[in-house]
Assembly symmetry: C2
Homo-oligomer: 423 residues x 2
C-alpha cells in the first residue's frame, strides 16, 4: 500500500458555506484514496514519509464543469459581441482549425498543462466536432493527469458552412468511431455532447439519446443561456414548451446530464432540472462577457438544484478556477443588486464550495476531503502576500480567491497522483 | 534637447470609443513632451537613438483616480461585508498601523514600485490621517516616478475611537503641517481629502473649503456610494437636499474636484456634477465587492459628465489598471442586464479610453498621445499569447485587457522619464 501524507494548513468545504480548517494538519491518502484529515499524525503512519508544506494551504483541487477546449487560443477575444455573433465571428473559425491534428496537439498539450498547473483536476469539456482532435485532447489530458469527461461535439445543422460542419450521417459515424477509439483511457472518459439544440437535428438528437441509454453515457450541453437563443429554440421546436424539453424528448435529460448556463430557466424549467437531478453549470464570466444575463444561482441553490462552476473558456476569459470562483461571487453580487437586494450573494466559503465540492459531486465524490474520495488536492503558497494582522485560515483562503497569484500553486494531486510540482 | 523615440505598434485613445493604431510606428518626445506619433521616422530625428520594441504594443500608461494607499496590505479581504461594516472591521484597523513610519515606509515603497511596474503613472490617492506617513507616501511615489495627487485624510468625527481618530484642531494643525512639508516634491502634489461627509464636522469642512480657495488646492472625496451611507448623510445634514451639497456648501465642489463612486447620483446630482465640472471616478470592482450598486456610467457619459476610473484598493481588489478597465467593462454589462438591455455596455475601446485619456484629462492632458502631453507610456509584450488568426492592433489590445499577463509590461515612462524597464 502506498501512503501519501501532506502536512500544512488543510482547508476543505464539507458543506455549502462551511470551511473546515486544520492548522498543522495532515491530509492522508492510502493508494490514492483519502483516509482523512488529522490534527496529529496517527500512530499507524509513523515512519511514513511526510511532505511538509509548512504553513502553506492544502486545498481541494478544482472541478471545471464547462469549457470549450478548442476555444482556448482565443481566450479574451471578441467580447464586444453578443453570443450568436461571437460564435460566428470568433468561436467557429477558431474551432475549425482543429481539423489539423498537429495544431490540436500543440494547443491541447498546452491547455492540459495549464489546467494541471492551476489545480483543475476534473473537467467536463467540449472538444470540437473533429474526432481525431478529440482523441488527441483526451490523450493530452490523460498524459497531464487531468481527469473527467470530454465530448466530441455533434452539430449537423446551423453550423458554419464550409469551415465547421458535419452532416447527420457523418456525425453518427464519427461519434461511433470516437467511442470505439477512446476506450483505453483510464481517467478521461467520453460524454455525449450535442452542441446545443439549434445545432442538432431531431434525427441526430434521437440517435444520441438512444446511444446514451444503450451505453450508459453521460450528456453535456447548453441550456437557456441567452434570450435570442431561446427564441430560436422555440421556433425550431414548436412541439416543445420549454428548452429543456428539446433534450428530454430524446432521453438526454437525467441525473448524469450537465447543462451549462441556465441563466433564464423559469420555475418550471428549474423544477424539471431538480426532478431529473441535472447538474447546472454556472459560467459567470461568460454570461457577463456576452451579456447573456446573470444566472439566479442563489435561487437555484435554495431550491436544492445541483450547481457547479465552469470557466466556459472562451466565453469566459479565465482558465484559473480561483478567478472563476471570484467571478461567481461577483456575479452573485450583481444579481443581488439587480434583484434590489432581495437575494443573497455568494459568500467566499459558498463560492469555494461550488468550485470544488459541488463540481466533484458530479464525479461521485462526497464533499470536502471526505474519506473514500480519490485524492484531488493542491498546495497554495500565500507567503508573498502581506499580513496586515494575523489571518485565520479562512481569511487566507478568501484573499487567495480574490488575489490571483501567479505561480502560487506549488503542487497538485489528481486521483491520487502528484501531477504537478513547482519544485 | 533630449529626444525619446519608441518604436513599435503604437495604439492610443484619442476619443471615447476610438483607437488609433500605427504599426511599426514611432512615438517621439522632446524633453519628455510628446512631439507626435509617426509612421516613418521624420528627417529631423535621423541619427537619434531609437528604442525598438519590435512588434510590441506601445500604449498610454494609466491614470488611477481613486485608491487608498494604506489599504494596500488588505487587498482582497473582508469582501463578504457591506461598506460600513467593512470599514470598521478591516479598513480602519489596517489604516491605523500607519502611525508607524517604518511600517509606512516598507508598505509604501512596495506600493509605489508596484504602481510603476503596472504602468500606473498618474494617481489621485488617499493616504491615512497620519501626516508623517503621508509625507513618506509622497516621497516613495516621487522616488518611483509616479505622478499626481496625494491627500492626508481628514476625519474628525465618526472615526474609529482609540485607533484612528483626530480632533478638529489636530486635523487643522496637521493639515497645515503637511502642506508646509510637502512643497518640495516635483511630481507629487497635495490634494485636500475630507474622507467623506460622515467623517468630517462642519467646522472642519469649512476650514478645508477656505484653505482650498486660498491656496488653490484640488479636492477629492466620496459621493453617493452606498444607500446606507446616503441615509446617514441625510441625517447628519438636514440642511442639504442632496449629498453633493454637503461638499458644495463649503466650497469643495468645483472643476478640480474628484468624487469617487457616484453610484446613486440622480438626475439632479448629476446635473450639479456636470455644471461644476467635477470628475467622477468609477470604481467598478469596489462597488460590486461591497454590494454598493452598479454606477450608471453610460448615462453619465451620455450626459457629458467627466468619468475616469479608479482601482479603489482595497474596496477594489486589483491594482493593475488592465484589471480595472476589464472590471469596468464587466460592470457596464451587469448594468445593461440590470437595465433590461436598455443601456449600452462599455466597449473595449471605451473602457480603455476611461482608464487612460479620461483620467489623464484631470491632469490637463489632451486625449491620446497628443503633441504637448508629457510622455506617459508603457510597452506591452503580448508575444506569449497564441494567435488563432492574424490579429489587428485593436484585437491585440482587447485581449491584453482581458488577459492579465504577469510581467508583460516591459517598460514604463512617466512625465518623460523611463521609470521601469523589465530588462
Amino acid at each position: 500500500m502506498s501512503v501519501t501524507i501532506l502536512k500544512g494548513t488543510v482547508i476543505s468545504a464539507p458543506a455549502l458555506g462551511r470551511l473546515d480548517a486544520t492548522e498543522n494538519g495532515y491530509l492522508i491518502a492510502e493508494d490514492g484514496v483519502i483516509a482523512g484529515v488529522f490534527s496529529a499524525l496517527p500512530e499507524r503512519y509513523a515512519g511514513a514519509p511526510v511532505e511538509d508544506f509548512g504553513d502553506a494551504l492544502i486545498l481541494q483541487s478544482f472541478a471545471d464543469l464547462h469549457l470549450h477546449a478548442p476555444q482556448y487560443p482565443m481566450l479574451g477575444m471578441g467580447m464586444d459581441l453578443p453570443l450568436l455573433d461571437w460564435l460566428n465571428a470568433y468561436a467557429f473559425p477558431t474551432e475549425a482549425r482543429f481539423a489539423d491534428p498537429d495544431y490540436a496537439r500543440e494547443i491541447y498539450r498546452k491547455l492540459a498543462r495549464e489546467l494541471a498547473e492551476n489545480g483543475t483536476t476534473r473537467v467536463c469539456m467540449f472538444s470540437s466536432l473533429h474526432t481525431d482532435a478529440t482523441l488527441i485532447l483526451m490523450e493530452e489530458l490523460e498524459r497531464a493527469g487531468v481527469t473527467g469527461y470530454v465530448g466530441k461535439v455533434n452539430m449537423d445543422r446551423n453550423a458554419a458552412p464550409g469551415i465547421l460542419e458535419e452532416d447527420t450521417e457523418e456525425s453518427r459515424r464519427e461519434t461511433l468511431r470516437w467511442l470505439e477509439s477512446c476506450q483505453d483511457f483510464r481517467y478521461v472518459k467520453p460524454i455525449l455532447t450535442p452542441r446545443f439544440t439549434p445545432a442538432c437535428s431531431d434525427e441526430l438528437m434521437d440517435f444520441l439519446g438512444k446511444l446514451g441509454a444503450e451505453r450508459n453515457l453521460p450528456v453535456q450541453s447548453h441550456l437557456s443561456e441567452n434570450r435570442a437563443e431561446m427564441d430560436w429554440v422555440r421556433q425550431l421546436h414548436p412541439d416543445c414548451g420549454q428548452y429543456w424539453e428539446t433534450y428530454a424528448k430524446y432521453g438526454l435529460w437525467n441525473g448524469r446530464t450537465v447543462m451549462a448556463h441556465c441563466v433564464w430557466c423559469d420555475e418550471r424549467e428549474r423544477q424539471a432540472i431538480r426532478d431529473a437531478g441535472v447538474t447546472v453549470v454556472h459560467c459567470a464570466d461568460s454570461n457577463q462577457n456576452l451579456c447573456s444575463g446573470t444566472a439566479p444561482v442563489r435561487v437555484m441553490l435554495n431550491e436544492g438544484i445541483k450547481v457547479a462552476l465552469g470557466s466556459d473558456i472562451a466565453g469566459g476569459d479565465h482558465l484559473s478556477m480561483f478567478d472563476v470562483v471570484a467571478a461567481s461571487i461577483r456575479a452573485s453580487k450583481a444579481r443581488r443588486i439587480q434583484d434590489d437586494w432581495q437575494t443573497d450573494f455568494l459568500t467566499v466559503p459558498e463560492g469555494w464550495y461550488l468550485g470544488t465540492s459541488a463540481g466533484a459531486a458530479y464525479f461521485g465524490e462526497a464533499p470536502g476531503f471526505a474519506p473514500g474520495n480519490p485524492l484531488h488536492a493542491l498546495v497554495l503558497d500565500d507567503s508573498a502576500l502581506p499580513q496586515p494582522h494575523p489571518l485565520t485560515p479562512s481569511e487566507r483562503l478568501e484573499r487567495c480567491v480574490y488575489r490571483r497569484q501567479k505561480d502560487a500553486v506549488r503542487a497538485v494531486w489528481s486521483a491520487g497522483r502528484k501531477i504537478f510540482s513547482a519544485e
